[in-house]
Symmetry: C2
Subunit: 320 residues, 2 copies
């Protein structure tokens, strides 16, 4: 099969003629039909996480083989990316996403989705409703990550909420919060990306236009940049909350005095509920269609990664 492989030496290369992955116990073999390039993939390509193997973790595909669950064969599915051990205390506490022994599709110790085939435990798979296209379903994983915010913060009516950074993830975060009835200000550095929010009930603003400080009760940092946290710290109100979605290769500087004196809460936020994301797509509560910058063949995966890294790009999809 074909796959975009991150070599141990750090070089990214489309490889052909690879064997299909072997189905482990409790796993299914999935033929990938579409995959999405995420900022994390771009960071991994720069060396973040020290990953080597097949890149990619956002996908939709069709179950080709599931020895333990033959009824699943032929189902169109998306898949949760964390593969927990299911026996440690963290797993038994229902927090398998934080299992210390977990592997993570295309990120930690597990070949990913920029390939003709992948394997995942059948427990990780969610059937895609018929009315959700592949081009929408491929957004399930990042959309679930956006829904995670609503599990972590109790956003009350009247709260002032800002999403800082309207790139790949920020665009979805805005849509999820607006769909939940939250009054959101979307702050970005590019008029083009802010323009993608036309039709979404959010106030938009260029970051350079925000002169005030301490304006928002909740600030989501989805900038994907190490300096995003410092800007979020300026924008958050005393006793407010910052949700940090940004993972980057370099650490950030934190004004701990501001955090303590103004009793700010900073919450790290990662993976979220697939079921809620699929429901939002099926009901049309979130429409990711405007976010597709390009659809390219897996054969063009190297070029697709370059395009995804360009400033204007939002979501570059690979059809497989």
């Amino acid at each position: 099969m074909r796959a975009l492989v991150m070599g141990a030496g750090g070089q990214l290369r489309l490889v052909t003629g690879l064997p299909r992955p072997v189905i482990g116990e409790g796993q299914a073999l999935i033929r990938v039909t579409m995959a999405g390039i995420c900022s994390t993939d771009l960071e991994i390509a720069k060396g973040y996480m020290g990953f080597d193997g097949v890149l990619g973790h956002e996908f939709v595909g069709v179950v080709e083989d599931a020895p333990g669950k033959p009824a699943m064969v032929g189902e169109r599915v998306v898949g949760e990316i964390n593969i927990p051990c299911r026996s440690c205390p963290m797993c038994k506490a229902g927090r398998g996403n934080h299992c210390p022994a977990r592997s993570v599709l295309g990120i930690v110790g597990k070949d990913g989705a920029f390939a003709d085939h992948l394997t995942l435990p059948v427990e990780n798979l969610h059937q895609v409703p018929d009315n959700v296209s592949d081009q929408a379903a491929v957004f399930t994983e990042p959309l679930a990550a956006a829904f995670r915010i609503l599990e972590q913060v109790d956003i009350q009516p009247g709260m002032r909420v800002a999403v800082l950074g309207v790139g790949r993830l920020g665009q979805l975060v805005v849509r999820v919060l607006v769909a939940a009835g939250v009054d959101v200000t979307s702050i970005g550095r590019s008029r083009e990306k802010l323009g993608l929010l036309e039709g979404v009930s959010t106030t938009t603003a260029l970051e350079s236009e925000i002169a005030g400080k301490a304006l928002y009760d909740v600030v989501v940092d989805s900038t994907g940049a190490p300096e995003g946290l410092a800007r979020a710290m300026e924008l958050v109100h005393p006793c407010g909350t910052i949700i940090l979605k940004t993972t980057v290769a370099s650490p950030a500087i934190l004004d701990t005095n501001r955090l303590v004196i103004d009793e700010i809460t900073l919450i790290g936020s990662r993976c979220g509920p697939f079921a809620k994301a699929l429901r939002a797509l099926a009901e049309g509560a979130v429409d990711p269609a405007p976010l597709v910058s390009a659809v390219m063949s897996l054969d063009q995966a190297e070029e697709a990664m370059r395009i995804a890294a360009m400033p204007g790009a939002i979501k570059v999809l690979l059809h497989v």
Copy 2:
């Protein structure tokens, strides 16, 4: 009167012959009987907060004059240090401690407690129960700051909790958590300071002896050092919470990847409930007596600040 004054040029000096502070509307004049030196005072003496004026914010004293409330004259009192405007949205939301126009006793725009007299709004004052000595009552302010943690984090039975740093504030934090029934590990760098916890139901450990990582569900950083946060990040478990009590003149480096991937919550924590602190002292639930390193006269205030800054010192008190 006498007062330890931080000059605009940054020099700290005991000044005599100063006029008594003028009683503003709604304020009382308090004759200070005892005051405590806090880490924040030592940081201010180094230039933190850019404060000039009379230093000091931990005190107990006697009301000498209270034009609007004459019945208070003669009462032994402690005082909350934040002086809010009482009219802005933050004040109306009951968060006067975060009023953007507030002054703070001995810290922001308001002469403090290392003096013969100070003034505070009568609303800030709490009468000290008869069975609480001056040497205990002077701990009310930092003890309230320790109680603040229990307002911010819901510590459940079975949770593993560590207090990192057992200096001035950490000693009180340990005692407050233990009194609340929490299973606390107290981690310090000095055997002497850990020894002060004898008789308190806590496990003690030298920081250098803690080899593992991700051991605690809740970590309180009361190190007072910029590197405390990084150590707390090592010690906290995935999905855990760090309470940050440390304010220092320099910012900290934060491993935001760890925060995001392990969905850690970081909460800034400052001032707390005086009523709870006074009750704990009156009931003997917390005994601060072992924490008194020295009691010196206000006349020796400059020397007392030097002693308080020494590595072995916990609380240096000034009798006035």
